[in-house]
């Protein structure tokens, strides 16, 4: 398998979009990414599209986007891994290039969640747990699933709602510095604690919002990448794992087994020691669909010992200058979470960070030239971990 690199990235502004349909939204991200790479759509051999899709009118987003954006010489497919669909798209595109099947591939993530009423979107997400055994009679929601994690985590380790609020405050702070973020307003711990319960003990400001958005990356084989740019960002390793459909079949509710497995796989291939992972990384993008999810990620990714993730948040060690800066783009929490676009947007941000072109105030100190992305689908149903490197 050959080395592959990202040679161009693009994003749409995240948020509720009423001015662009799905192909127009995708066009914004793809145009920016191809421009950066110095390529045209005709140079692309494969287009993989991460989109969850239930809420939007177009059933085959890969096809409408492929045509609208002029991918005349490319094959395409939509890939689904729930909230990790974008990472699945990056994985698919990277493998197409690494195998030699494609020289250049584009991974796109795109989602238009605002095409359906909010209550229906809440239902579609809720049905994505285990449909019959968890939704049909009991009406679990996505915040509800992560609340089940929070309740057991609090009980086992003595963490509190106040500790979770630290994560929201940090991610909104960085969101305020990111012009692409849905929320660009600083919030206080009191704001979080005063916000209404969505699924006890999680409150509105513990939750990522419903978002429209698109993100794209151009992935190229080593020879092509080196001919296009002096600063490609290499995909150093990829880890992927799955968890049980039924939440009740998990070992416990204080960590995501799939995240742990995917992290260990990616670390092993990149030569990173699990217990000292933070020392190897300059910055991490982790899956904070809810504040509790970011805490669990600290532990699953080896940034903190079991039961000590909330202390990392409390001590504000995940800001720039801390042990490991996390979600300097605002995370899913403040940047927004257009389901299928999220994983690709993480790749976009990893590239920007490693190339030192994040906006002022939210640029990590790049010493090792190494960044991590961690994208979870569902309630820990899917996990994708990527290690990116500037050398």
């Amino acid at each position: 398998m050959g080395r592959v690199a990202i040679v161009g990235v693009g994003l749409s502004k995240f948020g509720r979009s009423t001015d662009m349909n799905i192909k127009e939204l995708a066009f914004v991200a793809i145009k920016a990414a191809l421009n950066e790479a110095g390529l045209t759509a005709r140079d692309v051999d494969f287009l993989s599209v991460g989109s969850f899709g239930l809420w939007q009118s177009e059933a085959l987003p890969a096809v409408v986007v492929s045509e609208y954006c002029g991918f005349e010489n490319a094959g395409t497919a939509r890939v689904e891994a729930a909230c990790a669909s974008g990472s699945a798209a990056v994985y698919t595109a990277a493998n197409a290039v690494a195998s030699g099947q494609a020289k250049v591939a584009v991974a796109l993530g795109v989602e238009r969640m605002s095409e359906s009423p909010q209550e229906v979107v809440v239902e579609m997400l809720g049905r994505s747990g285990n449909f019959f055994w968890e939704f049909e009679n009991y009406g679990l929601t996505f915040p509800g699933y992560y609340a089940l994690y929070a309740t057991e985590y609090f009980s086992k380790y003595g963490a509190s709602e106040e500790d979770l609020a630290e994560v929201a405050v940090k991610n909104h702070y960085y969101g305020s510095l990111n012009p692409y973020a849905q929320f660009q307003k600083i919030i206080t711990k009191e704001d979080v604690l005063k916000s209404k319960y969505v699924a006890w003990p999680l409150k509105l400001l513990d939750c990522s919002p419903i978002t429209d958005g698109a993100a794209a990356v151009v992935i190229a084989a080593e020879d092509v990448a080196k001919s296009l740019t002096d600063s490609p960002v290499w995909i150093k390793s990829m880890g992927v794992a799955a968890g049980s459909s039924n939440l009740s079949r998990r070992k416990d509710f204080t960590g995501l087994e799939a995240s742990l497995k995917a992290a260990k796989m990616a670390y092993k291939a990149a030569g990173i020691e699990y217990e000292r992972a933070a020392k190897y990384l300059d910055v991490a993008l982790v899956h904070d669909c809810f504040t509790i999810a970011e805490i669990l990620a600290y532990e699953d990714l080896g940034f903190a010992r079991r039961g000590e993730g909330f202390i990392l948040a409390k001590e504000q060690q995940t800001y720039v200058g801390g042990i490991i800066p996390v979600n300097l783009d605002g995370g899913l929490k403040a940047k927004g979470h257009p389901i299928g676009a999220t994983g690709v947007a993480m790749a976009v941000e990893a590239v920007k960070q490693l190339q030192r072109r994040a906006e002022p105030g939210r640029q990590a100190d790049i010493r090792n030239g190494t960044a991590l992305t961690h994208n979870v689908g569902g309630t820990g149903h899917y996990a994708y971990v990527f290690v990116y490197s500037s050398s």
Binding site: R16, T18, D19, S57, P117, E119, V120, V122, E123, G126, R127, N130, F132, W133, E134, F135, N137, Y138, G139, L140, T141, P143, G144, A147, L148, Y149, A150, T151, E152, S155, K196, Y197, V198, A199, W200, P201, L202, N246, L247, S248, R249, D252, F253
Partner: protein, 181 residues
């Protein structure tokens, strides 16, 4: 227990129909301006209604158990793996030779949440509590916790697994009843 309102999605769709009819009367097109951004939005004139049809033949003993007030799980006769939700095929050894057994009456509440923001189908329900409890032989189950008093619940408390009829649909469901000391 409050029953799900399966007609809410239909109601939301009818609200949109009304809105687009007014627009059609005025301009001939189902295009309205977004309340916040004023951008023109076209409202789909078709409505997709789906009720899925689920085959249950291979796990029918589970539903027959509910009729008798019992919650049943399966155990693989070859490798001993236990399954709840019950399944007909063993994911471990790939045999399809299961025996059915009754899940114990009392278990321990492992975690719980109260759903405050509800999905469309449950939108007319009062806030409801869902939890996961563990029973004998390590069987873990997701179900409604029958109480309106969130504060009375604790991780580790005992719950009774019961089969009841939902108040309005009369559908048989299994639930957790908290056992207060």
């Amino acid at each position: 227990m409050n029953v799900a309102d399966k007609s809410r999605a239909l109601q939301l769709s009818e609200d949109l129909k009304k809105l687009s009819q007014e627009a059609i009367n005025k301009s001939g097109l189902p295009i309205v301006n977004d309340e916040k951004t004023k951008d023109p939005i076209l409202i789909d004139q078709n409505t997709l209604l789906v009720s899925y049809l689920l085959p249950v033949k291979k796990i029918m003993p589970f539903f027959e158990g509910l009729m008798k007030g019992e919650v049943l799980a399966t155990r693989c006769r070859r490798c001993g793996a236990k399954y709840f939700p019950p399944q007909a095929d063993c994911s471990g050894c790939y045999e399809s030779d299961m025996e059915w057994f009754k899940v114990g009456d009392e278990g321990v509440l492992l975690t719980y949440t109260q759903i405050n923001v509800k999905p469309a189908s449950f939108s007319n329900c009062e806030d409801y509590i869902v939890g996961i409890a563990e029973f004998q032989e390590g069987i873990k189950i997701v179900a409604r916790v029958l109480t309106n008093d969130l504060k009375s619940l604790r991780v580790g408390m005992r719950v009774k697994l019961a089969v009841i009829r939902e108040a309005q649909t009369r559908n048989l469901v299994y639930v957790f009843q908290p056992i207060q000391k």
